[in-house]
Amino acid sequence: MQFPRKIGGILAVTILLVSTVLWLIWPPAPGAWTESEIELLRSLWIGSLPPVPADPSNAVADDPRAARFGQRLFFDTRLSANGEVACATCHQPEHLFTDGLDVAQGVARGERHTMGLAGVAYSPWMFWDGRRDSLWAQALAPLESPVEHGGNRLQFVELLVSDAQYRSEYAALFDELPELPAQDPAITEVFVNMGKAIAAYERLLVPGASRFDRYVQALLADDERQFEAMLSDDELAGLRLFIGDAQCINCHNGPLFTNNEFHNTAVLPARGKLPSMGRVAAVRETRADPFNCVGRFSDDPDANCAELRFARTGDDLIGAHKTPSLRNVALTAPYMHAGQMTSLTEIIDQYNRAPLAMVGHSEAKPLNLWRNERKQLEAFLRTLSGPLATSPEWLAAP
């Protein structure tokens, strides 16, 4: 039987119209996830964060006395050339261990934006270019940097020797401080132990649950009333973009929203500055660092040191910088390695356009998101704020 063509046409148009109207009235539920999407959400959830990984190169890494000693050092401005700069000068606990500035201001103006410290102990590499391979090796570098603390290890040992509390805390953990005047290696041993104590303190700084995490927790527990109230439709749509079309999760993966690796995404250098070479220049420096994992100051001569031994450099790492954690991203502006971006809107625009890199090759491809999608993505990023899971006694000077 021949179906009349006219009726067929009218039927097709009607079906199209009805389904469009239905889609407009009842769009797919923003919070309806497939099983594989739920697994992705679980992978980002704070509940998936394992304990802080062991650091066999630091024998006092998990000693609470070392953390207390390290906390005292962290907040002590006497550890500087002008008596005014402590670790906490830039890593301010009230600002989630950042400083709100574009680049760090120590005894002079630095080159790099201050990174937050929550979850830092999970990273195999420190600094924006990963030029140190442990938390304690990292802690030593700013102390002697001429633009950060501007001090030197002899000055620091003199301070410890002159302070009765430091003397007893140090002796309880390591050995008696050397009699002064002393020479190397005794001075450097003390300096290294200071770094290990600061690292023990920093290992306690871990992120806590955000609204996003409470949403995932309710979702996994199948608590519909809870999770439906937790995120708005726009935030949920932003989350869907984050794990899907916007591809953010490629690098901002895992419960810390970072893979702690290095990527070139064509972020422009700070105004008037040459582009940073980033990761490609840092691997050699780490291998030459006397405080690295295979060096004589490591507490475990049999440590595997796989990250350092198999560290790679190559052209694709020109201009590559570390993926920062996105936890508390809305509260820790400005952004990028030189603080050259001031808002989340600006960052999302950058990834949406994906311009060519000034040096090296950008991994980012244009996303072509609509304006409302970019707003949804930003709304989602704002759900990642939450206080640290660290006891308040550690979040101020002792």
Binding site: P124, I249, N250, C251, N253, G254, N259, N260, E261, F262, H263, A306, E307, R309, F310, A311, R312, G314, D316, H361, E363
Partner: protein, 119 residues
């Protein structure tokens, strides 16, 4: 670029491009998880099934969709016997489609094979 459909996380042995060897690998980290450095054992045998014990095994990898390589430079550090080579320093830092090329050099002969891997 899209990954080939239906990739298993690990596949069986694959013949090298010029057909000289049959190569398989086993990850010592199960399942393969991103952001964790780990080891593989690469097994090399000739097409008639005899283990190859004097090969230089090299491994490179990357993500064709993202124009970057592995975050590490894995190395075959030890011959374990029976055609098995220990490869240390494997690490993946993104989910998605990866390609791993394993090359075998024995004296002056060279052959290689590329495995697709979906994480």
């Amino acid at each position: 670029m899209l990954a080939p459909v239906g990739l298993a996380q690990e596949q069986g042995a694959q013949r090298t491009d010029d057909g000289m060897y049959l190569i398989s690998y086993e990850s010592k980290l199960q399942p393969i998880t991103i952001n964790r450095i780990h080891n593989w054992v690469v097994h090399v045998e000739t097409s008639d099934g005899s283990p190859v014990d004097d090969a230089m095994v090299t491994l490179i990898g990357g993500m064709p969709g993202h124009d970057h390589g592995l975050p590490t430079m894995p190395l075959a550090t030890q011959y374990l016997g029976d055609g098995d080579y220990l490869v240390e320093g494997m690490k993946f830092h993104m989910n998605g489609w990866w390609q791993i090329t394993i090359s075998i050099t024995v004296e002056s002969s060279y052959d290689s094979v590329t495995f697709d891997l979906q994480l």
